[in-house]
């Protein structure tokens, strides 16, 4: 997946040895990082740090914990780079998979959970997608995702948002939406499939 939101900066213009005409992609850089190349990591950083921080914040919410988790994720990206397999997805997908899982792990620990339940009650439900989006620069990617989320049924969209941005398990989603478990499972899948097709994810 190419990421139009975080274009390569000047520092990321390092060229791949196999192809002089092509700027280094995040995948090229991650392959270099896998060999212990710190300068490649410095070039990769601006391509992934913003999305990683954003994902973690959506799930974790607490500012201090968000930065702590984001830091763990970015260091984990360095640490686990030798295990990255480009056949299984883009570098950004890999980074955001690490980020989301780690954020979810954090909020599902017992203490964090009880804190969150209280907070969640106070907020009376999932946050609307627009609420956080307004704090960051509007861009094409965000518009496209918003438009595609809008193309889902309400149940699909709410299920996907609660699971991804809320870090909820599908049984929590089912309870929050007072919908049978099996229905939520299905809506998560067909909602994502519809999003996939709308976003043109290969």
């Amino acid at each position: 997946m190419r990421d139009p939101v975080w274009p390569l900066r000047r520092g990321a213009e390092r060229r791949d040895e196999r192809d002089d005409a092509r700027p280094a992609t995040a995948e090229d850089l991650l392959a270099q990082v896998a060999k212990g190349d710190e300068s490649a990591f410095e070039q990769l950083y601006p391509l992934v740090a913003g999305p990683v921080l954003g994902v973690v914040r959506r799930v974790v919410r607490d500012t201090a914990q968000t930065e702590e988790v984001a830091q763990e994720v970015l260091v984990e990206l360095w640490r686990t780079a030798p295990r990255y397999d480009p056949a299984k997805g883009s570098a950004l997908t890999w980074a955001l998979t690490l980020a989301h899982r780690r954020a979810v792990d954090r909020v599902r620990s017992a203490q964090a959970r009880s804190d969150r339940e209280q907070r969640f009650c106070a907020e009376s439900g999932a946050r609307d997608f627009d609420e956080v989006a307004e704090t960051v620069t509007t861009n094409l990617e965000r518009e496209q995702v918003r438009r595609c989320l809008g193309s889902l049924t309400t149940l699909q969209r709410e299920s996907v948002e609660l699971a991804y941005y809320g870090g909820r398990t599908y049984s929590e989603v089912a309870e929050l939406l007072t919908t049978p478990l099996g229905t939520v499972k299905t809506r998560l899948r067909d909602g994502l499939i519809r999003l996939r097709d709308c976003l043109g994810v290969a």
Partner: protein, 259 residues
């Protein structure tokens, strides 16, 4: 979990919405279901787009902390079992005796943060890139003969760093010739009785490659030096007039020696 509907869990799995037990069960299933694995891959990529849409500008302090920690973190083996969880003590772990390299990397991050710019290294490989590098050199008074001679080398590479208090340093290096030149531009004048000193940093102690005294024009003459083997970074520190055998301050500019 009954087998017929396990496929519908691809969505919940891609969104990390399974509890721990179900996640393990589904991963066991994934290993035997290439079709599920393909779908999970696509749905993960889709979920990542939701993540990209939530991107925000990360604070400079985060970059500084991450790079400092990366400098002291060993990478996993490329082979072996699943990636183990990171130890919780990771943010406090410090390897004893890591010495200069660690402090320099942290300093590099501080440089970047203070200047609010990313330290950039441009690798010169194509004719077009070399032209760009030469243009940058021209900006930095590239009329000097040693610079042009180096720039003509087949393996000439350029790299630059931004000073913590402004200014830039630019190195053009040829490992074939084992020669490099350092040019600085717009560095603030060092305090009275002090000078900038340039260092090559690799394994072991930093090696002084000479003093850099910005002239009235804020530009110093190019500093030519050799002995590049083993060096990975170039740094400038402020030292007492006449220079020091080893750096006594943290670098004001630090960047990778182009390779």
């Amino acid at each position: 979990m009954s087998s017929p509907d396990i496929h519908t869990l691809t969505g919940a799995y891609a969104l990390d919405a399974l509890d721990e037990l179900e996640r393990r069960q589904f991963e066991a299933h994934l290993a035997q279901c290439p079709e599920c694995a393909r779908e999970v891959g696509e749905l993960r990529a889709t979920a990542a787009r939701l993540g990209t849409a939530a991107a925000e500008q990360p604070p400079d302090a985060l970059r500084r902390r991450v790079l400092a920690q990366v400098a002291i973190t060993r990478q996993n083996s490329p082979v072996g079992g699943p990636v183990p969880a990171q130890p919780r003590s990771a943010t406090t772990g410090r390897r004893a005796g890591a010495g200069w390299a660690v402090r320099l990397t942290a300093a590099a991050a501080a440089v970047a943060a203070a200047a609010a710019v990313v330290l950039g290294v441009v690798t010169v490989r194509t004719a077009q890139q070399r032209d760009a590098a030469l243009a940058e050199l021209a900006q930095a008074q590239a009329q000097y003969a040693p610079v042009q001679q180096l720039a003509a080398a087949a393996d000439a590479r350029g790299g630059s760093g931004v000073g913590v208090r402004g200014g830039t340093a630019f190195v053009l290096a040829s490992h074939e010739l084992n020669q490099a030149v350092l040019l600085v531009s717009d560095l603030p004048a060092p305090p009275p009785g002090h000078t900038y000193q340039a260092w090559l940093i690799g394994q072991g102690h930093p090696r002084s490659v000479g003093l850099v005294q910005p002239a009235a024009s804020n530009r110093a003459a190019p500093l030519r030096f050799g002995g590049l083997s083993g060096a990975t970074k170039v740094g400038l520190t402020i030292e007492p007039a006449g220079g020091s055998p080893q750096p006594t301050t943290t670098p004001v500019v630090l960047f990778d020696l182009p390779t």
